[in-house]
Each structure stands twice: as C-alpha cells, then as structure tokens.
Amino acid sequence: MSESFTKGMARNIYYGGSIFFFLIFLALTFHTVKEMPKRDNRENITEAVERGKHLWEKNNCIGCHTLIGEGAYFAPELMNVYDRRGGGNEEAFKAFLNGWMNAQPLNIPGRRQMPNFHLNDQEIDDLAEFLKWTSELDANNWPPNIEG
C-alpha cells in the first residue's frame, strides 16, 4: 500500500465509515419497524397465537424445520404449511395438524423421525393458530411456491 496513505487515514476511514453506515442502518431500522404493521397483521395476534408461538419455541421446532426460510433444513418449511396441508381452510388444517402430531413418531424404517411432543388438543389448536397467522404474513412474496 502506498506510503502517502497513512495508518491514521485508514483509522479515520474505519471509524468514520462504520459510524456513518451504522447510523444509516439505525435510520432504516426505525423506518422498517414503522412500516411493519402493514405486513405483519399484528391485529390478528390473539392469545392463542401467542401461546402457539411459545409452544413453537418451547419444543424447538426450529431445530428441524424452517419458518420463512430460517431454521434447520432437515424438515419442511412451515410458514405456508397452513396452505399446503389445509388448503387455506382452518378446519381442514386443524384436523390435519391434530392427526399429524398424534401420529408421531411414524416409525417408518429409515425415514426421518419427528418426535411426539405430547401436546394436548388445546395446545395443538394454539399451534395451528400460530401457523395460520404466520401463513398470512407478507414476506415479500416468499416462498416461491407451495412446497416452501
């Protein structure tokens, strides 16, 4: 590197540049948080959705599945499972989910195993409500298709 470019100049670019871009990042974050209500349907977060999110976390679902593409890549995406397995119909989805959770583990030799989390009907219903709410989020048109 050229001699006329000194360590002091490099240091100033580092401090100046990172502070400048961090401030922009904070400003964009502020704006994003303000815009979020248009996309997150927060008015539909019922107590059941809230309980469902806690169940989602408490059973470490993200340890196998993705939710909006984030998580582990071992099991299917669940942001749109409400549409994929319930066809967007609440009753159909809840019936599916209840049957599915209670049927675990499927014990098909060689197949990836989902554990049984011993949830009761109320809890499965709460989880379904959470997944329904999640399916209605506007994540800029992701995922590309129903398979997630």
């Binding site: 590197m1 071992f74 197949r111 994540a139 590309p144």
Partner: protein, 463 residues
C-alpha cells in the same frame, strides 16, 4: 523453561484446551446429524435431530467464544506491555463459563427441550427456542456476566498499558459481541419483530464484530511470525475492518429480503452484501504479502500455514460462497436451502474455527513452555491435520452446494403443483448427503491428527 513474556498470559491455556475439547464434541454431533440426513431414524428416540443440531451449533459458538477469550487473554497483555489486570478473575470466569456450558449441553441431551424450558423458568422471560439462541435464559444471563467480567479485566489491562491498534480493535470487537448479544433477550410475541432483531445478534456478530476479532488476531500473529513493521500491518488491519463494517452493517439487509420488511432492503442488502467479499479478499492479499515480505524465519511453520489458510478459506467460505446466494433475485430461490448450509459450514470453519486454531498454533508452544515452536515432527502432524480438515471442509461445501442446486431445481424453481415436495426432494439428494458424511469422517480424522500433534514432543532433553 518459561517462554512467556508476561506470566499472566498463561490464563489463556485452559481456554484453548477447553475450546479444543468442545470442538471434538461439535464434530461428533455433526457426524450424527449428517447420518440422520440419510438414515432418518438413526438414534431417533435417543438423540433427535433437533437436539443434535442444537448441540452442534451451540458447541461451535461456545468453543469459538472460548477461543476468542483465550486469544484476548494471550495477546492483550503482550500488546499492552503489562500483566493482565486480574489473572484470578480470568480463571474464575473460565470455570463459571465452562460449568454453564457443560450444564447447558447436558440439559439439551438429558431432558426434553420443553422440560429444560420448564425447569429453567423460561416462562418468566421466554428467550429459548430460537435458532442459535436456544440456551436457557439463565445461561444467557451467565454469558452476559462472564462477558462483563472478561471485558472489565481486559479493559483495566489496556487502560494501564500501551494502546495499540490491535488491542483497541480486539476490544471494540469484544465489546460489540457483548452489546449485540443483549438482543438475545428481546423476544417479542410478534414474529416479524422477533426475526428482525434476532439478526442483530446473528448477523452483526458473524458478519460484523467477529470480523474485528478475527482481524486483530490475524494481525497479531502476522506481526509475530513475519516480523513485518507494525505500522504496515496495523494500516492493513484498519483498511480491512473498515471494509468489513462498511459493507457488513448494511449487508445485514440480505437477511431482510423475506421478512415483513420494505422492499428497499432487497436493493440495500444486495448492493452492500455484494461488497462483503472485499475485506476477505484484502485479507488474502495482506496475509500473503506480509509472509512474502517477512524479515525473519519463524520456526513455527504451522502457525504461518494456519494464518494463510484462514485468510484463504474465509475468503472462499464467507466471501465467494456468501456472494453466490446474496443477490436478492438469487436468494429468492436459494433462501433456506442446502446452499445456505454449504456457505455456513465453510464460512465458519474458514473465518472463525481457523483463526482460533491460528492463535492456538502460535501460542500453545509458548504457553506449554516448549519455546517458539513445536518440534518438527509435531508440526508435520499438525499440518496434516490442517490439510485433512481443510480439504474435507472444501468437499463438504461442494457436496452441500450440489445438493442445494438440485434442491432449488426440483423444489423451488417449478410452479406450485409441479414442484417436488420437500421430503421427496430430500430423497433425491441422498448421494450428496452420503458424500458429505464421508467428507465429515475425513474431517474427524484430520481433527484427530491435529490433536495428536499436541502430544508429540522431542525425545532429547531440553536445553
């Protein structure tokens, strides 16, 4: 024979040793998961995939933290030209952190995760069950306390001593690490906010402040092994970390494409994260440049190899493999696929696992009283470890990339109705997963070779 410049640097030793022990655990659980990808019911009832994954990723994070802490305790006293403020505190915190880490991992393995949440009173302040932040809230509090004590200890050392660019950058990186970790305690009910701020821990760590830590450690080792003038190396350090933060902060936007966020993030994230390979490329130029301009022949050839290796592999893993899927129109199809996994593996190994092994390679002979370097035989075995692990990681990455491309082709690109389902797609990827698992076994052999090198000593009596 005592070869330490400052006696308190010795506290780094248990940190490095414990880091290596956890590293072994990480790889073993990685192999279990890799097998579960193809033999789905392997250990099904005993170690479910989600548990194995949590152990694999959490062990990685914790051993890297132990490595960073060991690196800081080793290099800060020497840079500051003074003894560590309190070696005793460093040892106490070592045991606190080690105990918290072991208990947490045992908790993951011995009881169902929901039971762990109950017995650690997660409902009082729910922070569990989010990727990489699975630790019970009380463990998270423990991490904060350990970090505060650690930063206090280092801060007091730097305050009474010399302030070099290296220890200031190291300190800034470590403070950033602690500050951004605080977002782990923010878990709103609204998933949109939860996910957005989750990235303040995850991205701003690995594509932000951790790069400062990596840069500082690399600069320190390069000064030592090449003897190149500090002014030159520190100038490069500033240029690299300036590029890292200027690109990396707004580069966070590449995680905001598919959240409940305005569309401008697709532009901001694409443009700035496309620049993220630059600091890593600069790091490659700099490492090779400094080694070519070396003013001394350091006897520790292995440490020099690690220093060059980490620069190259960080550039490939974080830089090139990151760029592959960072543009929003590409990421729309690759988001959350095996492409992501490929990138994650090589980036973490290249940038962070390797930088920790670089400082361990340099510091361990001194910490153990062996001298400037291990004997030739030990270095040869260590370098075998380097090559086996590194080449195995290249293959792991290539096989996962192959799996990812096929996955995108079958599952993501076709329209609804024509696309293959997730599980059907996974069956088609089996050959890639088998090859990845074989590469993983070779990685383990490399790791064993690397660890063996610590036990090889020269037979002749020490002078």
């Amino acid at each position: 024979m005592n070869t330490l410049k400052y006696q308190s640097q010795a506290v780094a030793k248990p940190y490095f040793i414990f880091a290596m022990i956890l590293f072994v655990g990480q790889i073993l659980f990685g192999l279990i998961m890799g097998l579960q990808y193809v033999v789905g019911d392997f250990l099904g009832g005993i170690i479910p995939f989600n548990v194995a994954r949590m152990v694999h990723t959490n062990l990685l994070i914790v051993w890297l933290l132990f490595g960073f802490m060991g690196a800081a305790y080793y290099l800060v006293p020497e840079e500051s030209e003074t003894e560590l403020y309190s070696p005793k505190l460093a040892i106490i915190l070592f045991w606190v952190f080690a105990a918290a880490g072991v208990l947490t991992i045992l908790g993951y393995l011995l009881v169902p995760y929901s039971t762990l949440a109950d017995i650690t009173f997660n409902e009082l302040w729910p922070t569990m069950g989010r990727e990489f932040l699975e630790q019970p809230t009380i463990t998270k509090l423990g991490i904060v306390i350990v970090c505060l004590g650690f930063l206090f200890n280092l801060g007091m050392t730097i305050l009474k001593g010399r302030k070099t660019a290296i220890n200031m950058v190291m300190m800034t990186g470590l403070i950033g690490l602690a500050v951004f970790f605080l977002f782990a305690f923010y878990n709103p009910t609204n998933l949109a906010l939860d996910k957005y701020f989750w990235w303040f821990v995850v991205h701003l760590w690995v594509e932000g402040v951790w790069e400062l830590i990596m840069g500082a450690i690399l600069a320190y080792v390069l000064i030592k092994v090449t003897g190149v003038d500090r002014e030159v190396i520190e100038k490069w350090l500033y240029v690299i970390i300036a590029m890292a933060l200027i690109s990396g902060i707004l580069g966070t936007g590449h995680h905001f494409y598919w959240l409940m966020t305005p569309e401008y993030w697709q532009w901001v994230g694409s443009i700035f994260s496309a620049l993220e390979p630059l600091p890593f490329f600069a790091m490659v130029l700099y490492a090779f440049n400094m080694v070519n301009r070396r003013r001394r022949e350091h006897p520790n050839k292995a440490a020099t190899l690690w220093a060059l290796g980490t620069a190259v592999m960080a550039f490939l893993g974080a830089g090139v493999w990151g760029f592959l899927h960072t543009l929003s129109f590409v990421n729309y199809y690759t988001h959350g696929s095996q492409i992501t996994a490929a990138h994650g593996h090589m980036a973490f190994y290249g940038a962070y696992a390797m930088i920790v092994m670089t400082i361990i390679s340099y510091a361990m002979p001194k910490l153990r009283g062996i001298g400037e370097a291990n004997c030739n035989k030990a270095q040869v075995v260590e370098m075998w470890g380097f090559w086996l692990m590194t080449v195995a990681m290249v293959f792991i990455t290539l096989f996962l990339t192959g799996a990812g491309i096929l996955q995108v082709w079958l599952q993501r690109l076709p329209e609804s109705g024509e696309a293959l389902s997730f599980m059907a797609t996974q069956d088609k990827l089996a050959i890639f997963y088998w090859l990845r698992e074989i590469s993983g076994v070779i990685f383990l052999i490399g790791l064993i070779s690397y660890l063996t090198s610590f036990f090889i000593t020269e037979k002749k009596a020490q002078a």
